[in-house]
Each structure stands twice: as C-alpha cells, then as structure tokens.
C-alpha cells in the first residue's frame, strides 16, 4: 500500500505536518478538558503523532464539504433513531418479526475512504449491516427483506457522496 | 436516577454474559464482549458522574479503544469457523 503513495516534496511534507499538528493540539485540549498546563507534554506528542501520520499516510486527506457534513449529521441523527427504535421493537416484540437475508450492492462510490465511511455508516443505520467487500461490490445483510432496501442503501450512498463533495451518477438498478 | 441507570446497565451486561456462556459460535462470544465496549463506556461515564470523578472519562476512552483491539485480535488470529 505504501508503494502506491505519491512521493511528496519537503515543503508539502512540512505543510501537512504542521496542519495535522494543529488539529491534534486542538484534540489534546479537548481531551484534557481545557487544562492548558498539560499542553507542554501535549504539544510535543501532537507534533510527534503528526510526523508519524505523515510518514504513514503522506497523501492528502480527503476533503469534506461543510454543507454535506451538516446534512450528513442531521440525516445520521434521524436515521440512527429510526434504526435503534426499529431493532428495539423487533427485539421486544413477542413474535420477533425478522426476515433476514443477504444481498449484493454495487458501489457507485469510488475511492477507499468514501467506501469505508459508507460501509460503516450502513452498519449503523436501520435494517442494514455491511458484511464484506468484494471488488466493487458490498455484501449487505438486511434485517427485513420486505422493506425497499436497495433504494435506502442508495440514499445513504448519496449522503456519503455529498459528505465528500462527490456527485454520483444516477443509480441504474433501483428496484 | 443515575443510580437506577447503573443498575439497568449492569442488567444488560449480565444478559451479555449469559450470551457468552451459551455461545454457540466464537463470533457470538466475540460480539457479546464487543457489547462491553459500549456498555462499559456508558457505565464508566455514569460512575464518573455519580462520584464526580471526571478522570473516568479517560477510562471510557480506553474501554472504547480496547473493544476494537480485541475484535481485531480475534479476527486476525483466533478465529476458526464452527467453534
């Protein structure tokens, strides 16, 4: 994997290291709950961590779109409510209504990070669980075959694409 | 109220221990120990609030991380089907 990464110049390396250091220092302040005294250690560790991160992952990190992020957070909050309630009611229902099966979903997203984010999001949303990658397909375990699942998976994919500022082609195989 | 919540969480954890006892596969056992990642984090945060110890937030972070570490160790090393 490391061989595929592009070689970067020292200026880029310095820029990325300092950018990531700033983010990590902010994270440290949050984790120390505003204790600025501990920043003596924290700043040092943040720079070390940023150096390690650039050494391991020299390429540019994927950019997020702010509007996409806001919409994604709202969508995620509402949908995880729906998902939790759905599964809780199924668990507590005396007859345990389940009709699970597996289906293959063809990615429209490309790129490693967006796909991973998509698969992880899918696992947290109602009725779907990503089970394995296979090339350009993802196997999804669904809790209820009757629901219009492919359509809702495609909707999640649209939201994740918007998060990364990607415009997807229209899905051709929505049932 | 917070004390009630700690008891409820203990109850959920007891159910998960029952699932580890029963199995039947290794994956079932592993996912019940994953539950301790979430429930353990929740319980630690609650205990922190009950006793006013904010340092326990760090322990909640450790719980969350370790659930992932054990899951990786399980998948890469210890897994065999039908166990």
């Amino acid at each position: 994997m490391a061989d595929d990464e592009p070689r970067i110049s020292y200026v880029e390396r310095l820029g990325r290291t300092s950018m990531r250091s700033v983010v990590l220092v902010a994270l440290w302040i949050v984790l120390a709950e505003g204790d600025l005294e501990s920043l003596k250690v924290g700043a040092l560790l943040a720079v070390a961590a940023a150096t390690a991160s650039v050494a391991l992952l020299p390429g540019p990190l994927p950019r997020l779109s702010a509007w996409g992020l806001a919409r994604f957070v709202a969508f995620f909050a509402i949908q995880s409510f729906a998902g939790g309630t759905d599964v809780a009611l199924r668990a507590l229902h005396p007859r345990r209504p389940l009709d699970p099966s597996c289906l293959w979903y063809d990615f429209r997203l490309s790129g490693h990070t967006p796909r991973v984010v998509f698969a992880n999001t899918l696992s947290l949303l109602p009725g779907t669980l990503s089970a394995r990658f296979d090339g350009d397909r993802l196997e999804v375990h669904v809790l209820d075959r009757g629901a219009s699942t492919t359509r809702s998976i495609a909707q999640v994919e649209d939201r994740v694409a918007a998060l990364f500022g990607i415009v997807l082609p229209m899905s051709g195989e929505v049932e | 109220m917070l004390e009630m919540m700690t008891l409820v969480l203990m109850g959920t954890i007891a159910l998960a221990v029952y699932r580890i006892e029963r199995g039947p596969t290794g994956a079932d056992r592993m996912l019940s120990s994953m539950l301790f990642g979430t429930s353990g984090t929740a319980l630690t945060l609650l205990l922190g609030e009950v006793s006013g110890l904010h340092r326990l937030h760090d322990m909640a972070l450790v719980f969350a991380l370790l659930a992932a570490v054990t899951a990786v160790a399980f998948v890469k090393r210890a897994w065999r089907a039908g166990d």
Partner: protein, 94 residues
C-alpha cells in the same frame, strides 16, 4: 442504591471468574478473562482507585486479552492445518 450495584457487581465478578476458570474451551475462557478484566476495572472504580482501574482496563483486559487470543490462534495452527476459508483469506492478505 449503590449498595445494590456493588452487590450485583461482586456477584457477576465471581460468576465470570468461575466461568473463565472452569471452562474447557480455550476461546471461551479467554473471552471470559477479557470480560473479567473489564469488570475488575469497574470494581476498582467503585473502590475509589480510578488510576488502578485505568491500568487494569488497558493492561489486564486489553493487551493481555489480545495476546491470549493470539496464543489461542497459534495453538490451533499447531494442532490442525488451516480450514480452507481462513487460508484463502490469508493468501489474499499477503
């Protein structure tokens, strides 16, 4: 109310410890051990020692648990050849 919590915690600790020690399946025993570490950490919190609890959670449950899972995997590898599914997965990883 916290007394009820403590009693429940102690009872579960004993149950898990017995489950971990009196088990013939190694894997189940290891999972029980990890869970025992997490519970022990909670017990340290209740005993008023959050630093010990942090160490217990990180070392007792996390690192030792991962090492033991690794050891169980190695022991199985010694005893029998890999089943087909796992072997294929390893080949694709390499």
């Amino acid at each position: 109310m916290m007394l009820a919590f403590d009693v429940l915690l102690a009872a579960l600790l004993v149950w898990i410890a017995l489950g971990s020690l009196s088990e013939l399946k190694l894997f189940k025993s290891v999972v029980m051990f990890v869970v025992f570490g997490l519970f022990m950490a909670l017990a340290w919190v209740r005993l008023g020692a959050p630093d010990v609890a942090l160490a217990e959670a990180a070392i007792g449950a996390g690192v030792t648990g991962a090492l033991m899972l690794d050891a169980v995997g190695h022991m199985r590898e010694r005893q029998q050849p890999y089943p087909a599914a796992t072997a294929r997965q390893d080949a694709s990883d390499a």
